[in-house]
């Protein structure tokens, strides 16, 4: 059942409902021209909010504070090829509420992915961004500081917190060469940062990772070879331990593959779960097909 088709001048790259209320359901998009637009899909002729946020394509977008997920103000984060990550509040026109950009003189990297997290009360909030050179940066929006950074050697295609609205628990970052990393975000060691476990899913790029909205320890990755992998994270017996100097450091758990399917010969670039129906998911692939799948027996995992 095809409901409606809306065409816009600039090709769209990414979109989110994350910062809109359950009642409004405004759709925020980032396009190839670097514009951030928010659309009322009931009246899509002109955007309700529009800003030329970046100089180049907006690769990634995420929202928080809407849909009943995340405490605090509704905010949208965009990551662009121009190397900047900007946080927007739909109530403030034209300027971002936070701007994370490389210092002048530094080479700017292509930001491929952004994600919100840690929004468990009105003050706390972090943004995680992944770059083409394998950098992962964690910005703390409360303290307006760079909280942590690491490099996973290959371009970071997708990052996601298992939950945006809890005290940072886990972060999954997927990479260009088919690996993904799961970071335990509960315990940050002063020098070593967060503990992580990595797993090679397939021989091709992992384009996206999405956590099951009904169980944060189950997530699906979508791969370049047109396959989907369903994973489960298992916590270690002790999530943190003391190092020789007495500082707390995290202990990573393990990841196990629950199921995998191959749907297409082309990469599956995009993936999401239904918030209402457990196991229902949708994915879009380069073969111009949108597929709807149902994952059964998730209760028994």
């Amino acid at each position: 059942l095809f409901l409606k088709k809306i065409e816009k001048a600039k090709p769209l790259k990414c979109g989110t409902f994350g910062a809109t209320s359950l009642q409004q359901r405004y759709f925020a998009t980032g396009d190839f021209g670097g514009n951030l637009n928010i659309w009322n899909l009931e009246a899509p002729e002109i955007p309700v909010y529009s800003v030329k946020g970046h100089k180049e394509i907006i690769n990634s977008i995420d929202g928080v504070g809407g849909l009943g997920i995340g405490e605090g103000a509704p905010e949208i984060v965009t990551g662009s090829r121009d190397g900047t990550v900007k946080v927007w509040d739909p109530r403030q026109k034209d300027t971002p509420v936070a701007n994370m950009e490389p210092v002048q003189g530094e080479s700017k990297r292509d930001c491929w992915t952004v994600a919100f997290g840690n929004a468990y009360n009105q003050e706390e909030r972090v943004v995680c961004a992944g770059y083409d050179n394998g950098d992962i940066k964690l910005f703390d929006l409360k303290t307006m500081s760079l909280r942590w950074e690491t490099n996973i050697k290959n371009g970071v295609c997708s990052v996601e917190f298992d939950r945006k609205d809890v005290n940072m628990n886990k972060l999954v970052a997927t990479s260009l060469e088919g690996k993904f990393h799961v970071f335990d975000m509960r315990t940050q060691h002063p020098t070593k940062g967060f503990a992580s476990v990595s797993e090679k899913a397939q021989k091709s790029t992992i384009w996206q990772v999405r956590h099951l909205p009904q169980n944060r320890d189950i997530f699906m990755t979508s791969g370049g070879a047109g396959s989907l992998h369903l994973w489960k994270y298992e916590y270690p017996a002790q999530r943190s331990k003391k190092d020789s100097e007495g500082a707390e450091m995290g202990v990573a758990g393990s990841v196990s593959l629950l199921q995998n399917v191959t749907l297409s010969t082309q990469p599956i670039s995009s993936l999401d779960w239904s918030p209402d129906k457990k196991g229902l998911c949708v994915c879009g692939a380069f073969d111009q097909t949108v597929r709807v799948l149902i994952v059964t027996k998730l209760n028994k995992v």
Binding site: S21, L22, G68, M144, D276
Partner: protein, 885 residues
């Protein structure tokens, strides 16, 4: 030669090599070569290699295969139907929601916007590189002078919040690396302006977050999320989960509160009951814990955890008794009130006299409850188990004499049996295991004995609720000794509790082939038949595995086998079972207050077993209730001959003596009760009373004329019928006594009522209710009149609470009419007036019959005849209207 890729020697592509190779990496390479087909296509070998890798490393990546998405054909029709059905129902649900007017874009939205936190301070720039961070920060902090256009946009509030944030920034920086240990999670969610749908969504989400946190062990966090969920929509599930998290945090009080909230919402919630039992157990309210667990077992008689916990708690309670019998609630109930405590009583007594049969008692008690709730399934299940534990006794008796067992093993087995009898199943398992190991070490010379050991261990597992181990042991026992009865029965029961009805059915049927007289097996087989028919429809038999045919030899073998000492055993067992059933029926009747019938049942019991003291004490109780004091005394005497320190027998004989007016003997018996257990409050009270009676009795002889008169009337009353009683109370001076001296009231009331109806001024609705019930059952209008005399009419509605019933109403009216109206019509008016204010008054009034209405009319007539300054005729008329006369 070697392969093209990886350069593996061709010789490695061989069954023998692969079978022996333990290097997973190498095997993976071989597999890749085989799969690629560059050295030729060997599907069998490839499969073999895969299996080998799977054996060595089930999680090897090489085993991952690309699979296409499952389609309808990959599922059984049934599975596909459920999947499809669920999806369809979800779609319809969603469609319905869509149609509802959801887009309430009225002012609610603005309201919400107002609640939102302020916009983050704008244009804060964040360096993306750590090394330049400090420098950059300093730049940020500098106050750059604004230009005019910026001043135009200046927003005071925003700037204020910026400053606030700045402060926070500093604070948080200070603790940045030491990470706040506990995150601050708001306990409440602001839901103003949210639609119901949103609230449901958020409540569910918060609950799920709680569940996730719980799963990881972050109980504090879990509690906060559950609290948040509850703040949006209070649900039983959220409270229940919260209680569980609080139990983990050992926050017993909160857990108790939450359990109670759940039970308010869903009175039969099993989980909440289980959890409350745990909390009660921790708070050392063992009696309450036992009650909760019994409730659970009432609904789910198979609940293994509940059974286990119950056993443990009872053990604790038992262990505690000698130490803290003081205010021991349980102890007090023990004698206080028969209706409620029959179960406890039995438990106590049986453990004393039967030593090991504690588990059995528990089951008896359970059985009673399940019978009550009409759960036939539970009942017969219990019977089966009981039957089995009887077997066990027999088995252990036989086991001791089993000569073929080496002495060490025999000793271990005996110890195991002892432990089993005392209910320490875990330890018993250890003993049996040791014995098994020992026998195994000697080589398999004695399959029979080994089989018995396995079978006994299986019994322990069954008791512990460890059904799978039980089945395993039964299997072993049956391998060693096919068609032996006990392991078959145990396996059947274990299977049944695991809801593997088919297997259970087969086993029961096999048992019946061996011995068709085992009632328990018969019952169970029938019961399972029903379940299977429900489950599989009329063709259920087709789905059954074949029932093994028992060779005739095995049928004979059963009695030759060393486990059973004699042929007569089953008959004994049957008698015992019948005895128990009768006893339970008796107990049932007691509960219902049908003492006559209960006496009959107990008497039948005695024909079967004259040794069991419980029956006698129970029958004595019934006799007491029936005022047959002499018989009660005899029963108690009998018990005391067998057991010279049976506290209950003493207590009841004391009551019987009291009834027989043998106060001295009564006092003696009460003293003995208190000697055995100085904390039986009832005995203390009774003793005081009887001592008073005794004093009265003796002093009366030498006492004044008035007192003597009183005494005589009293004696009359004890054996009197109602008429005499009425005469007695109408005699002026006694009533005056009531009113004038309170002490006199308290003394004379119990005398008059011959039973232990002591009427003191009720302090609360509960007391009042108790007295009313007592009065009502004995139809003792005089006592009721006394009660009403000393009760402040104004308190009547409060005291009656919602307990006003037709019977109570009538006895009020009657006693007012017969006893009080002549004496104090003002008081009668007051009572009638306040009675009409009581809850349920209208209902009761509406249900009165014609006759009964006439009685009320009579009372009013009497009132209007006897004038009083406390009410006028008009008052009376208006009250009459209230009474619909």
């Amino acid at each position: 030669g070697t392969t093209k890729t990886y350069q593996i020697p061709i010789g490695h592509l061989d069954y023998k090599f692969i079978e022996k190779c333990t290097d997973v990496k190498h095997l993976e390479k071989i597999l890749r070569v085989l799969r690629s087909g560059e050295e030729g296509c060997y599907p069998e070998l490839t499969l073999f290699c895969e299996k080998r890798i799977e054996h060595l490393d089930p999680r090897s990546r090489a085993l991952r295969k690309d699979k296409p998405a499952a389609t309808a054909s990959d599922f059984t029709a049934e599975e596909w139907k459920t999947i499809n059905g669920e999806l369809m129902s979800w779609v319809t649900e969603m469609n319905e929601d869509e149609k509802k007017p959801q887009f309430l874009r009225t002012d609610t939205l603005h309201e919400r916007q107002d609640n939102l936190p302020p916009i983050r301070c704008s244009s804060s720039c964040l360096p993306a590189n750590q090394n330049k961070k400090l420098q950059n920060k300093q730049r940020n902090k500098k106050n750059i002078p604004r230009d005019y256009s910026e001043w135009d946009k200046f927003d005071v509030e925003k700037e204020c919040s910026k400053i606030d944030e700045g402060c926070e920034e500093n604070n948080s920086k200070a603790r940045f690396f030491s990470r706040p240990s506990l995150p601050i999670i708001e306990k409440k969610i602001d839901t103003t302006g949210m639609t119901m749908k949103e609230k449901v969504f958020i409540a569910t989400r918060e609950k799920e977050k709680g569940n996730e946190a719980f799963a990881v062990g972050d109980y504090v966090e879990a509690v906060s999320y559950y609290t948040r969920s509850i703040s949006v929509i209070p649900t039983a599930a959220a409270y229940n989960n919260k209680a569980q998290a609080e139990i983990k945090l050992q926050d017993w009080d909160s857990a108790l509160q939450d359990c109670e909230k759940v039970l308010d919402m869903e009175p039969g919630n099993i989980k909440a009951l289980m959890r409350r039992a745990t909390v009660h157990n921790q708070l050392q309210n063992y009696q309450a814990a036992i009650e909760d667990l019994n409730k659970v077992l009432c609904v789910e008689p198979e609940n293994a955890i509940a059974k286990k916990n119950l056993l443990e708690i009872e053990k604790k309670l038992k262990g505690l008794m000698p130490v803290s019998e003081t205010q021991g609630k349980g102890k007090r109930i023990l004698i206080q009130d028969i209706e409620d405590s029959e179960g406890d009583e039995e438990r106590g007594e049986n453990t004393e006299e039967r030593g090991g049969s504690k588990a059995e008692d528990r089951e008896t008690q359970k059985q009673k409850e399940s019978t009550e709730s009409g759960l036939k399934k539970g009942t017969s299940q219990k019977k089966t188990q009981k039957h089995l534990s009887d077997h066990e006794g027999a088995g252990s008796a036989g086991g001791g004499s089993s000569a073929s067992l080496p002495p060490t093993a025999a000793k271990l087995k005996c110890e195991g049996n002892e432990l089993f009898k005392s209910g320490q199943f875990g330890e018993a398992v250890l003993k049996y295991s040791e014995a098994i190991e020992y026998v195994m070490g000697l080589g398999e010379q004695s399959p029979d004995d080994l089989s018995v050991l396995y079978s006994n261990r299986a019994a322990c597992y069954l008791k512990e609720g460890n059904c799978s181990d039980c089945i395993q042991d039964c299997n072993r026992a049956l391998e060693l000794q096919p068609f032996s009865l006990k392991p078959l029965l145990r396996r059947a029961m274990a299977n049944e509790s695991m809801e593997r009805y088919r297997q259970a059915y087969i086993d029961y049927k096999t048992v019946l082939q061996i011995d068709s007289s085992i009632q328990a097996a018969n019952d169970s087989a029938n019961r399972i038949t029903k379940t299977l028919i429900d489950q599989d429809g009329p063709s259920w038999r087709e789905k059954l595995p074949p029932i093994p045919v028992v060779p005739v030899a095995a049928q004979l073998h059963r009695w030759d086998g060393g486990n059973f000492t004699s042929d007569s055993k089953p008959r004994c067992e049957k008698a015992e079972e019948k005895f128990k059933t009768l006893k339970n029926e008796g107990n049932e009747f007691v509960k219902k207050g049908k003492y006559e019938e209960a006496v009959n049942k107990y008497s039948e019991c005695m024909k079967l077993n004259t040794e069991e003291c419980t029956i006698y004490t129970n029958r004595a109780l019934c006799y007491l209730k029936l005022y047959k004091y002499e018989e009660a005394k005899q029963d108690c005497d009998h018990v005391l001959q067998i057991e010279d320190s049976n506290i209950k027998a003493f207590y009841r004989r004391a009551l019987a003596y009291k009834g027989l007016q043998n106060y001295q003997a009564s006092v003696d018996d009460f003293n003995r009760v208190l000697l055995i257990d100085p904390n039986v409050l009832e005995a203390k009270k009774e003793l005081e009373e009887v001592t008073q009676l005794l004093n009265l009795h003796s002093s009366a002889v030498a006492g004044s004329q008035q007192k003597q008169r009183k005494k005589i009337t009293i004696q009359e009353v004890t054996e009197s019928d109602e008429q005499e009683e009425r005469q007695f109370v109408t005699s002026e001076d006694v009533v005056t006594d009531h009113v004038t001296s309170k002490e006199a009231v308290q003394n004379s009331v119990p005398l008059k009522t011959s039973e232990k109806l002591r009427i003191s001024e009720p302090s609360n609705a509960y007391d009042f209710g108790q007295i009313i019930n007592a009065v009502n059952t004995s139809k003792d209008k005089a006592a009721c009149a006394d009660l009403l005399t000393i009760t402040d009419p104004k308190k009547l509605p409060v005291l009656l609470s919602n307990k006003l019933e037709g019977e109570i109403f009538l006895i009020f009216v009657q006693s007012l009419e017969y006893y009080v109206v002549g004496k104090d019509p003002g008081l009668v008016y007051q009572h009638l007036f306040y009675l009409s204010k009581a809850e349920r008054f209208k209902v009761v009034l509406a249900l009165l019959s014609k006759n009964e209405k006439e009685q009320v009319q009579q009372l009013f007539d009497l009132l209007s005849e006897t004038q009083n300054n406390q009410y006028s005729l008009e008052d009376l008329e208006s009250l009459k209207k209230v009474y619909e006369l």
